[in-house]
């Protein structure tokens, strides 16, 4: 019952947050220079055409009415039309998002499968030289812009060593992206590197916390081997908060994808967003912002729920 109440409140809270996000995005859409009419009709449009357009589109009605209309469109999955690509924003995102997900998920899998053992190893060898070295490295990596890392990788692996191409796969579909796995290496490695830094830190902290728990002492007193304790108990208990962290990490993942896609010319949502910023294609920009924001809200909602349901000791958590 307690959990059900929590879930209801938490989901209601998330919905309120999403509603506020739509208000912000709607506000930005209306703060645009020239308004949507200029954007769609172009610079040559006469004032009469603009008035007619505004009337047809309901843009001469009061703002609250327009906002409700905008919400209704959103609920129908209508995010407007791109100024420059002459295509529905929802369609553009539908084409590009899967490719971004491929990149992100691959980076996350590789990043986590390195970070988790690394973090555990650090925790076990706490305050030994190896721990210091890795902690320092992840401290530095935390302060490194993703694009700088990418630039250095491009410099070393495409120019000096010539192992990999500098351009990501250019396919239209996910299948075509996978058809060129060698070209996928550098973008995925760049994305994974920043994850290793962050998640080895979380894993180290979580493992250390669990190692000091009573159940570890009990298991030890009962004669369990260190290795067995580590892998049977501590690992499982430490993994939950770290996996939950992924939920909070959604905005960082999208930010990373934006940079990696721009750097390697990978045709995902990040590159779509970046080109839209270059050409002031507002419907695309704000459509992407909305999608990413909703993903962020859902990510942290799931993270909260995972932590709450898996670990009943986490109470409160609200706000």
């Amino acid at each position: 019952m307690d959990t059900l109440l929590y879930l209801t409140r938490r989901i209601a809270q998330a919905l309120v947050v999403i509603l506020i996000v739509t208000v912000v995005v709607f506000g930005l859409l209306h703060a645009l220079p020239g308004g949507p009419a200029r954007g769609i009709l172009g610079q040559q449009a006469t004032p009469q055409q603009i008035t007619l357009f505004n009337h047809d589109q309901g843009l001469d009605r009061p703002l609250p009415v327009q906002y409700l209309y905008y919400l209704r469109q959103l609920l129908h999955g209508d995010l407007g039309t791109s100024y420059t690509l002459n295509e529905a924003v929802s369609q553009l995102i539908e084409q590009r998002l899967p490719k971004t997900l491929v990149l992100t998920v691959l980076s996350a899998i590789i990043g986590l499968s390195l970070a988790i053992p690394l973090g555990m190893w650090q925790a076990v060898r706490r305050n030994k030289p190896a721990d210091y070295v890795i902690t320092t490295l992840s401290f530095v990596a935390y302060s490194t812009p993703v694009y700088f890392l990418g630039l250095v990788l491009v410099l070393v692996f495409t120019q000096v060593l010539r192992w990999f191409p500098s351009q990501a796969p250019q396919g239209d579909t996910v299948g075509q992206v996978f058809a060129d796995p060698v070209a996928l290496v550098l973008p995925v490695v760049t994305g994974a590197a920043s994850m290793v830094a962050a998640f080895s830190r979380y894993m180290r902290a979580a493992t250390l916390e669990n190692l000091s728990e009573d159940y570890v002492r009990t298991a030890r007193a009962g004669g369990s081997r260190q290795r067995a304790i580590l892998f049977k108990h501590v690992f499982r208990n430490s993994l939950t908060p770290v996996i939950a962290m992924l939920g909070y990490y959604v905005p960082v993942l999208f930010g990373g994808a934006l940079v990696v896609e721009q750097l390697f010319n990978y045709p995902g949502m990040g590159l779509l967003f970046w080109s839209a910023a270059q050409s002031s294609d507002y419907p695309v920009l704000l459509g992407c912002v909305l999608v990413i924001s909703v993903a962020t809200v859902v990510g942290s909602l799931l993270a909260d729920i995972v932590q709450r349901v898996v670990d009943p000791r986490v109470k409160g958590g609200l706000v």
Partner: protein, 292 residues
């Protein structure tokens, strides 16, 4: 009995070492402070000692390798790279510092008012914070940059407006514990105003949290402005910052001009690391909770 032995035998109360001493014990934090100071000297005093033309292009001196006359070579329009680092660093440091402080001020006020007011005002104000956190700063910055081309002041304001959310949460949490302290209750009982309670009691007592948050905020702002400039939507030419210097980085990488990529990149990493180290040191010295 000397003070030393009295202390040893527990006859003198052991007060925690003063803040400065606790900070000084953290070698990494001290190193961070030194690095920050050196970079300020380099960027603001450096141009006096090592004068270069960073405004006019010199097409006879393009893309030179590092040499005796240009220690780090020149870029694609003939600017000396060492001078460029100083010139860009000024903007990076100033924008980062100002935006970090601005964000902390906004966040502090917002968090203190929300936490102090409580009830539905708090709930509404914190949902606004949640919504702000849900819209990733990098994306909203790029949208704003697409609408207007911000100058340095504009950039500071925009960065401040998108990154005050975390400090507001920290200060709110602090305010929640402070507002039920006796001295605040007493002040209210004798008729002191709400604004007096906030400005004279709650904020001064949260100062450690605020200072620590500000330090991390500056580190984040330097990084964020570097991202926006790298993507070509930050400070506009002929002005530049370290991120902007890397916006032509891909071309440089393809032609193997490492000296145009590595120095500004390392400068960003060093300064951001340094601010983070100082933040860690302050957090431990003040013994407050901040970023883990």
């Amino acid at each position: 009995m000397s003070v030393q032995s009295a202390r040893r035998w527990g006859l003198v109360a052991q007060f925690p070492a003063p803040l400065k001493a606790r900070f000084a014990r953290n070698k990494l934090a001290v190193a961070g402070l030194v690095v920050v100071a050196l970079f300020f000297l380099f960027c603001f005093l450096g141009p006096v000692l090592y004068s270069t033309d960073q405004v006019h292009t010199d097409l006879t001196q393009v893309n030179l390798h590092p040499s005796g006359s240009h220690w780090l070579g020149t870029d694609a329009v003939g600017h000396d790279e060492v001078g460029r680092l100083m010139y860009g660093g000024k903007v990076s440091l100033l924008v980062g510092l100002a935006a970090g402080v601005l964000a902390t001020v906004i966040g502090t006020l917002w968090g203190a008012v929300a936490g102090y007011a409580g009830g539905w005002i708090d709930a509404v104000m914190m949902r606004v914070v949640d919504a702000g956190i849900a819209i990733p700063a990098l994306f909203i910055l790029l949208v704003v940059s697409a609408i207007t081309t911000p100058g340095v002041t504009g950039l500071i304001v925009i960065l401040g407006l998108v990154s005050w959310l975390v400090p507001s949460r920290l200060v709110r949490a602090e305010t929640l514990t402070l507002k039920s302290r006796d001295y605040v209750l007493t002040l209210r009982a004798i008729g002191g105003s709400h604004s007096r309670a906030i400005t004279r009691h709650i904020l001064p007592n949260s100062v450690s949290t605020i200072v620590v948050a500000a330090t991390f905020q500056v580190a984040d702002a330097i990084l964020l402005v570097a991202y926006v400039s790298y993507l070509g939507l930050g400070v506009q030419p002929p002005s530049t910052d370290w991120g902007g210097m890397l916006s032509a980085g891909l071309t440089a990488a393809y032609s193997g001009r490492w000296w145009l990529i590595v120095p500004p990149g390392l400068a960003i990493i060093l300064v951001v690391c340094a601010f983070n180290a100082v933040g860690d040191g302050l957090r431990d010295a003040f013994d407050v909770k901040g970023r883990g």
